[in-house]
């Protein structure tokens, strides 16, 4: 299953890539593949912006505006004016 196309904030900068393969290891949607000695994007539209790749890239070759793809959390963020959050794990409350 795929979500909306051309919306992801994922950015990849091959010049900084050292080919450590961490991004390929952590992505749950196989957005990254190895192409020769460097990583490459296979299908950007499968990205769900979880941020695992960017967090685990020690070389700053990946940037993504990571966050929850959850309507309730985003509406919550709009109402409170803060970051999208479903509220669980911070304070006692129902979680998505």
């Amino acid at each position: 299953m795929k979500y909306l196309t051309n919306v992801t904030s994922l950015g990849f900068f091959p010049d900084a890539c050292t080919g450590c393969e961490r991004c390929v290891e952590v992505c749950p949607h196989a957005v990254f593949v190895m192409s020769g000695k460097k990583a490459a994007l296979s299908d950007k539209d499968r990205c769900m912006e979880c941020g695992a790749c960017a967090r685990n890239c020690a070389f700053g070759a990946i940037a993504v505006n990571a966050g929850v793809g959850c309507a309730a959390a985003i509406i919550n963020g709009m109402v409170t004016g803060g970051k999208p959050s479903c509220g669980c794990g911070d304070t006692a409350g129902e979680c998505c």
């Binding site: 196309t5 941020g51 794990g89 911070d90």
Partner: protein, 353 residues
């Protein structure tokens, strides 16, 4: 888990490796009937918000200095699924304090995170417990953990295991290698089904208010509230409303890949339109009420279906924001027009217009 073991868990014990390492409680790989029951309750109730284990180091089997270390969250269901997957193995389990939240959600929040992992490695004196430098974290914990920083600060190299704990044995047997399949997160009809109660329950709560309101409005006369009219005129709307909840919270999630378009708002609206149409075939309803129904109910199921984005494994924040940008104004104007229509019908019914 045996009762005595459960007891050990709640009060940290120190039987194993007491000379070299602190506080590792032993756990079984089996689930009790009670745990099966609790897991079911977590799927349908608020129990999941307080279903937690104490963070710290645990043992499954009889691990020694060469045994693997698996990292988990302190949501008890996450922990239980992991320990069951480790049946027959001798390993250490390092449980992070994720405030009782599952691995993936906690990783997104950062509680299943770099700092917490570094802290737990230190607190459990892991360097004295094992003689190697590898820890195995679930792949879905990666959004919260910067493996290179953990290695810099502790010396332990983080290996990301498979997405699904059930693949752990195969992963270990293959020499800590995952297949492409093990790396991908799946979203089967079963995965979606177990999530639907938590879509249904909040929707039903709002539905109850809606049903009461409809009953009140339909029974409202210049002379007072007529119970009979409220029931007779309200029932079709109460029925169609229930259908909208069912369509948005159950049917759309279950049939997700088969409902056309990628937008959840559109999916929910289409499914809602179909079910409103089917529903109307089975009740007698006046033309103006049908206009109201085709406006209001598909939008209601669209809104409810959009909430399911929070449960899926493939919707990103930018996409959901884009959906909300076009859907929220439509929901609000739809709700406003529906209300105006309702007032208009009532005034007409009373002979004022």
């Amino acid at each position: 888990m045996l009762k005595s073991e459960a007891k050990k868990m709640s009060s940290p014990c120190c039987a194993k490796n007491a000379a070299t390492a602190p506080l590792a409680a032993a756990v079984s790989s089996d689930w009790t009937l009670r745990e099966y029951l609790d897991h079911f309750r977590c799927r349908i109730s608020g129990l999941r918000m307080r279903y937690a284990v104490k963070p710290g180091l645990y043992t499954a089997g009889n691990p020694d200095k060469n045994s693997d270390v698996f990292v988990s969250a302190n949501y008890k269901m996450s922990f239980d699924i992991l320990r069951r997957s480790l049946k027959g193995m001798n390993v250490w389990i390092l449980v992070l304090d994720t405030k009782g939240i599952n691995v993936w959600c906690a990783a997104g929040k950062g509680t299943f995170g770099t700092d917490e992992l570094i802290k737990r490695i230190g607190a459990s004196q892991l360097e004295n417990v094992v003689s190697h430098k590898r820890i195995i974290a679930p792949q879905l914990g990666a959004p919260g953990i910067a493996a290179h920083i953990v290695q810099q600060k502790t010396g332990f190299r983080v290996y990301y295991g498979p997405v699904d704990a059930r693949d752990i044995r195969r992963y270990v047997e293959a020499g800590y290698q995952t297949t492409e399949e093990m790396r991908r997160v799946k979203f089967t009809v079963w995965d979606r089904l177990v999530l639907t109660p938590m879509e249904m329950i909040p929707a039903i709560k709002i539905y109850a208010i809606y049903a009461a309101l409809i009953f009140f409005i339909m029974g409202l006369k210049p002379s007072g509230i007529i119970f009979k009219d409220g029931l007779a005129n309200g029932l079709p709307f109460i029925f169609l409303g229930f259908l909208a909840v069912l369509t948005g919270a159950l049917v759309t999630p279950l049939l997700l890949p088969f409902v056309p378009f990628r937008s959840f708002a559109v999916k929910g609206w289409i499914a809602g339109l179909v079910f409103t149409f089917l529903g109307i075939q089975n009740i007698s309803i006046a033309a103006p009420a049908a206009v109201f129904s085709f406006l209001f109910f598909p939008l209601a199921s669209s809104y409810i279906a959009l909430q399911f984005t929070g449960s899926t494994v493939f919707t990103g924040m930018s996409g959901v924001k884009k959906e909300l940008r076009f859907a929220l104004p439509i929901y609000m104007s739809g709700a406003f027009i529906s209300f105006v229509l309702l007032v208009f019908f009532k005034l007409k019914e009373w002979g004022i217009l």
